[in-house]
Symmetry: C2
C-alpha cells in the first residue's frame, strides 16, 4: 500500500476550494442571510444540528463520513471579489450594498464544530455534527455541509453492508469509477468505501490522494485486441534463476498447452489463439503479476486452458502467477471448476504454486448477490464491486438535514441540549479560526 | 438570467484538471498500456466507440451530455512528474523505466473525437462518441470519458423525462445539491438538468459557472428562527411612490391581517406571531421579492393568512409580492385553496396583483408524482425537484461502455464502420492538438 504523500494531502486541501467554493450552495441561503443581516440578527449565536431521520437501505445503522472535507471546507470558506460580484448580480436590486462588504469579510473563525469522529457507527435522529456560530454564517454553511456528509456517509454505509454480506475474509475491490455520479462521486466513493470496509480500489487517483491500495490488470478489450501469436513481442523471457539465455516463451507455453489439453481432455481446436497471444504478451510484460481475465471467449474451452499453459510456463521459469478474473456467468460454479483444474494441474505437474492462485469475481455484484454468493459453495477470493456500490442503487441518497436547535431567544433549551450531547462519548471538537 | 462570464468559463476549464486528472482512471488502463507499449503496439491506430446498450429508466430515448467536459479533459490530458512517480510506485517493479518517460511525454494531440452534439436525443446501441488514435492513449482515456458521459447523460435524460411529465408550460426548478452524490455530482446535475429542460436552479455556483438562472427565497429554519414581532427590525418601509415618510409596516400589516381574518372567517388566535415576524422581516428586506414558504405551521390557519396580510400591505405601498411556496402535504389540493383565497382577496380588496401571484410546489417530487400532479386539477406554477432528479433514484447509473472497434489488424472492417457512421447526420468532429 502506497501511503498518501504530503503533496497528495496538499492536493486534497487545495481541491476543496475548487470542489466546494462558497457559492456551491442554494440561493436561499443568501437571501435568508441578507434578511438576518438587514434585521441586525446575523451575529446572533445559533446552533444547527446535522442528522438523518431514517437509516439508509432499510438498515439499522449508518457510518458517518465526510467530516474531514467539512473541516477543510470551513477552513477555506471565504468569498472572493468575483463571488461577491456574482451575488450582487443575482440578489434583488434592493439589497443594501453594505451587505456585500459584510460577505467579503466573512469567514468561519467564529464557528465551532462538534462532531462524532469520521467512520463512527451512527443511528437515525442522533446528531452527527453540531455547528455553532453567528446565525448568518452557520445558515450559509447548510447546503455545502449536507452535500459533503450525505453522499460520503451513504456510500460508506453501503460499503459496510457489502462487507457484512461478504464476511470478514474475502477481499473486496471497489471498481465503480466509470459508473459513478461524476468524477468527484467516483473519487468520494473510492475514499469512503475504503473506510466502510473495502480493501482495494481500481481508482488510481484515490491511491495517489488517500493511499488506498490499488488493483487491476486487464480488460476484455486487451484480450480481443490480439488475433494471432505473431503479435506477441518480445517472444522470449529470462528465467528467475539468472540464466542469461532468453527462453522462447511461446514455444514453452505451447508445450504446456498440449499437456494441459491432454490432462483435461480438452479440444485444442476450440482454443482462441488471440487470447493466448494476449496472455503471453501480458505475462512477458509482467511475469510476476499474471492475473488475466479468462472469460473473453469461453472459460472452459479456451480461457482457463490458456491461463494454465502460460502460468505453468511462468512457473517453469521460476515466476509465481497470481490468478484469474471471472467477469460473467455463474461466478460460484465457475470458480469451483477453475479451482478443480488448478488442483489437477498442481497434482499432475507437481506445481505447488497452483494451490495458492487467487480467483477474482466481478459481475454486476449487488449487496443481495454478495450475500447469496456467500451462502453458496465457491472459491472466489476477491470480489470486485462497481455500480451497485458507488451509486447506491438501493437508495441513492441519504436524507441528512441541518436543523436550527438553539438561538439566543431559546436559551432555556440550552441546558437540555448540553445534557443530550454528553450522552455521546466519542466526540471531536474543532474550533475554527 | 446572468450569463456565464469569461472568468467563469476560465474556472470551468481550470477545474477540469482538478476534477479529472489523468490518474482518475482504473489501474488496469496503465497495466494494459504498458503491455501494449512493451509489445510495441502502443502506436497502433485504434478506434473506440462509446455507447450504451439500454435506454435508462425503461424509456425509449436518452439525451447525450458530457461532451464539453470530455473535450476539456482531452485537451488537458498530461501526466505531471508527480503523477508518473506515483505510477512508478504502484505498477509492478518489473515495469521498464522507459515506459514512464513515454507516459511523461504523452498527450492527446494524436487523438480525434467524432461525436453527436451535446444534448442530442440518442438511442441504445448507437455510437455517441468515436475516439481514434494511438492504441495505448485511447485505452488510457476509457474510464475518464465514461465517467464524464455516464452521469451527465443520465441526469440530462432524467430531466427530460421530468419535463415531459410536467408538460411544456410549468416552470421547473432543480434544487438537489444537498442530496447529490458529492459536490461535483450536484454541480453536474444543475448543469445538465438545465440542458434537459429545467428552467431554474437553486445552485448559485451553477449560475456563476454556466449562467443558469438561480432561484430561492427562504427555508423553514428562517421562519422558525422568529418568535415574536419584537424581532422585526427595521419596522418601517418606504412606499414606492417616493413619499419620504417611512410607514410603520407592522401596524399596516396588522390592519390587513384583521381584514383578511374577517374575510375568510379565520381565528386570529391560531395565527403564529413568529411566522408573521419572519414574513414581515423578509418583506422589509426584499419588498419586491416576497415569496415565503407558508407551511411551517399550518397553511390554512396561519401561513396563508400571514402571507395575504403582508402581501396586501406591500401592495398598499406600491410593491408587487411574488407568491408563496408549499413544501409539504397535498400540493394540488392546497394550491387550489391558496388560489381561491388569492381570488377572494383580489376581488374583495380590489388588488389585481393577487391575480398573478405564483405558487411554487416542492415536496419530494418524483417523475411519477410529477405525472400525477399534471393529471390533477391544481394551481402550481413552479415545481421544485431535488433528490429524485439529481440522484436518478429510478436508475442511478447509465451503463455506457467504450469498446474497441477497429485496430490496424482489422482494416477490412473499416469500410463498414465508415458507412455506419454516415447514417448519423448530426456530428461534430474535433481534432485535438
Amino acid at each position: 500500500m502506497a501511503a498518501s504523500s504530503g503533496s497528495a494531502r496538499g492536493a486534497v486541501e487545495r481541491s476543496i476550494r475548487e470542489r466546494v467554493p462558497p457559492l456551491l450552495t442554494d440561493l436561499y441561503q443568501f437571501t435568508m442571510a441578507y434578511a438576518y443581516w438587514r434585521a441586525g440578527r446575523h451575529q446572533e449565536p445559533a446552533v444547527f444540528e446535522l442528522f438523518f431521520r431514517d437509516n439508509p437501505f432499510g438498515g439499522g445503522f449508518s457510518l458517518f463520513a465526510g467530516l474531514h472535507d467539512c473541516l477543510l471546507f470551513l477552513r477555506s470558506f471565504r468569498f472572493t471579489d468575483e463571488d461577491v460580484e456574482f451575488l450582487r448580480s443575482v440578489l434583488p436590486p434592493a439589497t443594501d450594498p453594505t451587505f456585500f462588504q459584510f460577505l467579503r469579510g466573512l469567514d468561519c473563525s467564529g464557528v465551532t464544530v462538534r462532531s462524532v469522529p469520521e467512520g463512527t457507527v451512527v443511528f437515525a435522529r442522533v446528531p452527527l455534527m453540531e455547528v455553532a456560530g453567528p446565525l448568518a454564517v452557520v445558515q450559509l454553511l447548510e447546503t455545502s455541509l449536507l452535500c459533503l456528509v450525505n453522499y460520503a456517509s451513504l456510500v460508506c454505509s453501503n460499503a459496510a453492508r457489502f462487507r457484512l454480506a461478504a464476511g470478514p475474509r474475502r477481499k473486496l475491490l471497489e471498481m465503480g469509477l466509470r459508473r459513478a455520479q461524476g468524477p468527484d462521486g467516483g473519487l468520494t466513493a473510492s475514499r469512503y468505501t475504503h473506510i466502510g470496509g473495502f480493501d482495494l480500489t481500481s481508482n488510481v487517483q484515490a491511491g495517489f490522494l488517500f493511499g488506498i491500495p490499488v488493483a487491476g490488470t486487464m480488460a476484455h478489450s486487451y484480450v480481443t485486441s490480439f488475433t494471432s501469436l505473431q503479435e506477441v513481442w518480445p517472444q522470449t523471457l529470462l528465467a528467475v534463476n539468472g540464466d542469461p539465455d532468453p527462453v522462447d516463451f511461446i514455444s514453452l507455453t505451447k508445450g504446456w498447452l498440449s499437456r494441459v489439453c491432454e490432462l483435461l481432455g480438452a479440444e485444442p481446436g476450440k482454443i482462441r489463439e488471440g487470447e493466448l497471444a494476449a496472455f503471453l504478451s501480458y505475462a512477458i510484460a509482467y511475469p510476476q503479476n499474471f492475473l488475466p481475465v479468462i472469460d473473453s471467449y469461453s472459460v472452459g474451452c479456451s480461457g482457463l486452458l490458456n491461463f494454465c499453459a502460460v502460468a505453468l510456463a511462468l512457473c517453469e521459469l521460476g515466476y509465481r502467477p497470481v490468478g484469474v478474473r471471472l467477469d460473467s456467468g455463474d461466478l460460484c460454479r465457475q470458480s469451483l471448476d477453475v479451482r478443480r483444474v488448478f488442483g489437477l494441474c498442481s497434482e499432475h505437474f507437481s506445481i505447488s504454486a497452483f494451490d495458492s492462485l487467487i480467483i477474482v469475481g466481478t459481475n454486476n455484484i449487488s449487496e443481495q448477490s454478495m450475500a447469496e454468493l456467500n451462502k453458496k459453495e465457491n472459491e472466489i477470493n476477491v470480489v470486485g464491486v462497481g455500480t451497485h456500490l458507488v451509486t447506491c442503487t438501493k437508495q441513492p441518497s441519504l436524507g441528512c438535514v441541518y436543523k436550527m436547535m438553539i438561538l439566543s431567544c431559546w436559551l432555556h433549551q440550552a441546558r437540555t441540549f448540553s445534557m443530550y450531547w454528553e450522552r455521546f462519548a466519542a466526540e471531536c471538537e474543532v474550533q475554527l479560526g
